[in-house]
Symmetry: C2
Subunit: 127 residues, 2 copies
Amino acid sequence: MSKERIALTKFETEVMSVLWRLGEASVRELQEAIDRADRPAYTTVQTIVQRLEQKGAVRRTRKAGNAYFFEPAVTRKSVYRRLVEELLDLVGGSQPLVAHLVETGKLSLDDLKAIESSAKTPKRGRK
Amino acid sequence: MSKERIALTKFETEVMSVLWRLGEASVRELQEAIDRADRPAYTTVQTIVQRLEQKGAVRRTRKAGNAYFFEPAVTRKSVYRRLVEELLDLVGGSQPLVAHLVETGKLSLDDLKAIESSAKTPKRGRK
DNA sequence: TCGTTGCTACTACAGTTGTAGTATGCCGCG
DNA sequence: CGCGGCATACTACAACTGTAGTAGCAACGA
């Protein structure tokens, strides 16, 4: 019950990132934690949080003073999965994607090695 | 002169994918080449191609009969780069991304090996 | 030469997204 | 207990997207 089919927009995902990091936060905290040149207005973040709530991506936890606190209601992983799947559809599979990362120097062979070895000990094998 | 800052939508990217594959194509060909259950209407594809043209992502090559032919005006790589960069921003780097791919079984260790070795022999080295 | 048919150019439109203002209410301080 | 201030809930809105219809022209076959 967290494998929901929720699709998040770019900005919504950004806010979620902050929330995953903080664990729990008020709108004010979220807004202040957004680290960008053109930081969005408080009410903008508020709107996003409301939409996230409607989509079931966050939930209210408690009320402190007159402000509510929110926590994630979907896992980072499930959201990543969507994002990645979408990208993979677009570029045509993992292979081309990773190849692209290596080609463009975004990922070194050492990185690959590191991942390989850390993946050799895992809980689960292939699909 | 092809490093433009063009941003493509999902559907636009899909059409570009087909065009990259075909090299050159008419709207009709593009529409027929879109392999989906809910194939969009001819005029829908036509609109997308028009928008792509406005954005400078495709250009007209020749006219055959009363139909125009189009070819890509941006490279696959430059578009991928944007997509990937965006994703990386969201998920926080290549490492986590590839780790995610391996974790979720989207990429096998053998795949990684294959990429490693094919990357060892390339025309160019690292960035 | 004409009609038929396909293609283009233009128009439309609802849903989504980013962005924010406004009105109102509740909380804590003095 | 009343007020000032911050938070919430609601409203707004333009740009972007996906989706497609329509009008009109041009090319090819008869």
